[in-house]
């Protein structure tokens, strides 16, 4: 051990003073040589001969010195430093080449880093908690898939009887009106069981977190833990926040602690700002009773698996407990079959994310796309290197001739390409960092703003470094091997321009070009399909007129507006809105268009044989002039009117699809239906039929909707107002906010936006994929054509002499143009011939993303192909024109 340490010490000293050591070694050898030649002279040789003999016997002193130096184990490091220095010099000396290569690599690597950092944040990153891999979400599943919501009695049953988990906790995310420091805002919060923080292993940055003791007496623990971000935002990081009071849905709570900055809750992309004990649920939750065994399936449950317990084993154990529990629960057998058949355990190591469900497949597609773009960039740089290798042929031949090893040279060339890649990678990292926030803006904020941590961390840096190294070797290896396979004699004798020994090298370049064209075509076809799907979705018949409509939401949950006061507020707002200049009509409804969360109710149509599937119906309670405002046209009957007052007989308007489904070949007008279960249920008469509209999303079929009169029902706290405007609806946003505030300072108005914007937002996924794949497709096209241009220009430069002879012998300019174009087009066509089948084979994988066209849409494919060939032809035409302008006299005299 001591010995090894002193060896390291000696090595360090050596490295520190290696120049001196080298000098000493040289001197020592010179001395040896002198003595040796003296010895030879003493043996009777002539001085000259004595010296030569000594030298011959001694061998190559430089080599000997190298070998001796190697003993110190620094050769590899030294050569690396040498190679890097030499490489840098070469790169600086050829700024044009370096710029093009670095830029294409930066674009390729940057694109990969940007998409990877999104993937990392949304899909891969572990929760910042203790041993996240042990965490599992306890869900239940059936034929209709998996649902994450349990209820409290089930939670208690599993918590108290399961052996496989070291702990189980439950939480219920919610949105609250929170007043702190005199400001009221809508905050994402959650009620959690007392063991939430201890089970996750999350401590407090300030104060303390909740404990089991905070969760004993129902309604007895008005304490709250707030997030670091909220603490900074609302309290400016004031340590005196502990003990302060905040009002959650008008209930006072005392702040007892702040969580660490990295902890954002369990929902990736959504920061949960306030946590309060489950015991407070009746006061700040939705008001549902925790003890209801058969309802309120809204409570996600998380367990920490005991070390050594297998997941399947734990699932089986929970399943037994679950079946026991369900045996006592009253539930329709169909419901049971669809959602409550068994327990499922879902790994929760990277948190629960609706974002993940929504964006994991688009992000994967994009990762493949950017990977292919990087391949094209690599091929481009490889081609550049090949072209440069032929310029450097002589240099390399000379180095080989004076004894450089081939491996050593390949290493040197590889060092150069890795240097290129690393430079490109650093620049790419910079690009990625600049665009990643742009990428996040593609994901629309739903309620709370999105909080994704995209700053480049060790993983991102590692990813970029690995990708750069890999690409450096990928595009550098083949050219390096080719470049060092030189016919020494021929190369050294020849002048640089002769075409000797080149067919093979040129062949590799062509293979690269063909594959670039093929991959570009594949990307273009994919991008075309995505873009046209987005276009189709944008122009899909929604059933409502999305222009000139402004929407906003009034959510009075947890405010003083209740009952009569609430309906008075709604009426007052409606009058104010109707009176606003520029508003043609104003109305309100309980559900907004496009993913507005329509309520489901039981429908009973007398004389219709109901099956399980058609017992449910979507219900939207609307004010009068709703259809006029939304631009949903009336097909038959009438709209709601002032006569449909609370005292009047209840009426309903149904959508066309409801009419077709429940009243085939009948006139539904005047028929009576029952909507809902007792006690709210009541018969109502159908007075009108309207066109279908897409309430569930643009991709879905028209929703089957029954519209009921809002006046004839109880008032709901969350209401969407809609205004049809004369001009640009966004001009009215400020006025709307002003009017609402004039009615009451404490009226919470959220998400004021145009209907067009809302429709647009629902296409976030599609737009993300279409925009990025379109961009990358064009980038790929550009890179491939740059490559094509480069190789053709290079070929023309090499053949100047030949072209000169052809022209001198009477060839026409057009012939020369065709000579070059023919080759270009041939390369492009071979690329297309390979790319098309590849596209046809792979686009099937993305058919889930498409809308209104098939994965083999002939129009898209032929457009992409034409574009590819046209741009390739352009790339070839420029060098071809240059070739045709060769002056035969100049070309021939050049020899």
């Amino acid at each position: 051990m001591v010995n090894q340490l002193s060896q390291i010490w000696r090595r360090l000293i050596y490295y520190w003073r290696r120049d001196e050591f080298d000098r000493e070694l040289a001197e020592e050898m010179r001395f040896h040589l002198e003595l040796k030649s003296e010895g030879n002279r003493a043996a009777g040789m002539a001085p000259e001969e004595a010296h030569l003999t000594a030298q011959r016997q001694f061998g190559n002193p430089t080599l000997l010195q190298e070998v001796s130096r190697e003993m110190w184990g620094y050769r590899s490091l030294e050569t690396l430093v040498q190679d890097v220095r030499y490489g840098l010099r070469m790169l600086i000396r050829h700024p044009g080449f370096t710029a093009v290569a670095v830029l294409s690599l930066a674009l390729g690597i940057g694109a990969n880093t940007a998409i990877f950092s999104l993937i990392d944040a949304v899909l891969l990153k572990y929760l910042p908690v203790k041993a996240p891999e042990q965490l599992y979400l306890i869900a239940h599943a059936g034929e209709r898939g998996v649902s994450e919501g349990s209820n409290f009695p089930l939670f208690e049953q599993l918590r108290d009887h399961s052996q496989s988990f070291s702990g189980l906790m439950a939480f219920n995310p919610n949105q609250w009106k929170v007043t702190a420091n005199g400001e009221t805002e809508l905050i994402s919060g959650q009620v959690v069981t007392g063991n939430y923080f201890s089970l996750l292993g999350v401590g407090a940055a300030l104060g303390r977190t909740l404990t089991v003791d905070d969760d004993r007496v129902p309604k007895g623990h008005p304490v709250a833990v707030i997030s670091y971000a909220y603490w900074q935002r609302r309290f400016a990081g004031d340590p005196g926040v502990l003990g302060q009071s905040i009002a959650i849905d008008l209930m006072p709570f005392t702040i007892i602690g702040v969580t660490p900055p990295e902890f954002f809750g369990l929902q990736v992309g959504r920061s949960t700002d306030i946590s309060v004990p489950m015991s407070m649920h009746p006061l700040v939750g939705s008001g549902s009773s925790l003890s209801n065994r058969s309802g309120w399936w809204r409570l996600p449950m998380l367990g920490r698996l005991k070390p050594g317990v297998k997941v399947e084993q734990a699932r089986a154990e929970l399943d037994v407990l679950f079946q026991q529990f369900m045996a006592d629960v009253e539930m329709k057998p169909e419901w049971r079959r669809d959602s409550f058949a068994r327990v499922e355990l879902i790994p929760a190591s990277n948190g629960l994310a609706e974002l993940r469900r929504q964006f994991s497949s688009p992000l994967q597609v994009l990762m493949v796309v950017v990977g292919l773009v990087l391949l094209i960039a690599c091929a481009n740089v490889a081609n550049l290197l090949l072209a440069r290798a032929s310029v450097r042929q002589k240099e390399i031949a000379i180095r080989l001739a004076i004894g450089a090893g081939r491996v050593r040279l390949v290493r040197q060339l590889l060092t150069e390409s890795v240097l290129l890649a690393l430079t490109g990678g650093s620049l790419g990292l910079f690009f990625a960092y600049r665009v990643s926030n742009l990428l996040v803006s593609f994901i629309p904020p739903k309620g709370a703003p999105l909080t994704l941590h995209l700053s480049p961390d060790a993983r991102i840096l590692g990813f970029t470094a690995a990708v750069s190294l890999l690409t450096g070797i990928l595009f550098g290896l083949a050219p390096a091997l080719q470049a060092t396979r030189v016919e020494l004699n021929a190369t050294l004798k020849d002048n640089a321009r002769s075409p000797s020994g080149s067919p093979a090298r040129f062949g590799l370049g062509k293979v690269l070009i063909v594959s670039q064209v093929a991959i570009s075509l594949l990307l273009l076809v994919g991008a075309g399909l995505f873009v046209r799907s987005l276009q189709n979705l944008k122009h899909v018949e929604t059933g409502f007129n999305r222009d000139h409509v402004l929407l906003f939401n009034i959510n009075c949950y947890g405010t003083a507006y209740k009952g009569d006061k609430l309906s008075a507020l709604h009426q007052e707002l409606l009058e104010k809105m109707n009176a606003l200049p520029g508003v043609r009509s104003a109305t309100l409804s309980t559900a907004g268009p496009i993913g507005g969360g329509m309520d489901g109710r039981r429908i009973t149509v007398p004389g219709f044989a109901h099956r399980y599937e058609d017992e449910g119906i979507s219900v939207n309670w609307v004010e009068q002039r709703y259809f006029e405002t939304m631009g949903i046209s009336l097909v038959a009957g009438r709209d709601f009117s002032l006569q449909d007052s609370e005292q009047a007989p209840k009426v309903a308007v149904i959508s066309e699809s409801v009419a077709r489904y429940y009243f085939p070949n009948e006139n539904p007008l005047g028929r009576r239906i029952t909507v809902g279960l007792p006690p709210e249920a009541g018969q109502c008469e159908i007075v009108g039929v309207v066109k279908g509209a897409k309430f569930d999303g643009l991709r879905k079929e028209n929703t089957r909707v029954v519209y009921l009169s809002h006046r004839q029902s109880w008032t709901r706290p969350s209401i969407t107002f809609a205004l049809r405007t004369a001009g640009d609806p966004s001009n009215l946003i400020a006025a709307v906010r002003r009017e609402v505030r004039a009615v009451g300072q404490d009226v919470p108005v959220t998400s004021v936006k145009t209907l067009a914007a809302q429709v647009d937002e629902s296409l976030a996924r599609e737009r993300l994929v279409a925009t990025l794949s379109g961009f990358f497709g064009l980038l790929a096209l550009l890179l491939a054509c740059l490559g094509l241009y480069g190789i053709m220009a290079y070929a023309v430069a090499r053949r100047t002499h030949e072209i000169g002879i052809r022209l001198a012998l009477g060839a026409q300019r057009g012939d020369v143009v065709w000579l070059v174009m023919r080759e270009t087009l041939l390369l492009a066509l071979i690329g297309v011939a390979i790319g098309l089948p590849a596209a046809l084979a792979t686009t099937r994988l993305i058919s889930d993303f498409l809308f209104g066209l098939t994965a083999t849409d002939p129009a898209t494919i032929s457009m992409a192909t034409l574009l590819m060939i046209a741009v390739a032809a352009l790339a070839g035409y420029l060098p071809a024109r240059r070739a045709s302008r060769v002056d035969p006299m100049v070309a021939l005299r050049d020899e």
Binding site: N3, S6, Q7, R10, R11, Y14, E24, L25, E27, E28, M29, F31, H32, E34, L35, K36, Q57, F58, G59, L64, V67, S68, R69, E70, M71, W72
Partner: protein
């Protein structure tokens, strides 16, 4: 070339160079330079063992790194600057180890080679 074909100059047995150098340094009370070490081995072995410079200097560097020999600059008999090597305590121990290994090996080889 003048190399006598009858006077065969043997290649050193692999792995013995270190031992020979260490032994040479042990036998000579005064520090020696590289040339002197090579000459000494050649003379004592009556020209049978030729130490090639190509392996001598790397070997010396290696032994320096291991701490078996130490070196310093001094002046040779004809007053020229030269590097002189001497044995260290660690080198002495190493020599003992190598000698006993070598003895065992030699004995074993002889046992095989001797007529029964």
């Amino acid at each position: 070339m003048g190399r006598d074909k009858h006077q065969k100059k043997s290649e050193l047995l692999p792995g013995t160079l270190d031992m020979l150098v260490l032994k040479t340094l042990e036998r000579n009370p005064m520090p020696m330079h590289g040339y002197g070490i090579a000459q000494y081995i050649q003379q004592i072995s009556q020209d049978v063992l030729q130490v090639e410079e190509g392996s001598l200097y790397p070997a010396l560097q290696r032994m320096k790194l291991k701490g078996w020999v130490a070196s310093e600059w001094g002046y040779s008999t004809n007053n020229r600057r030269a590097r002189f090597y001497r044995l260290t305590a660690a080198g002495r121990k190493q020599l003992e180890r190598e000698e006993s290994d070598f003895d065992r090996m030699l004995e074993a080889i002889l046992r095989v080679m001797q007529p029964v």
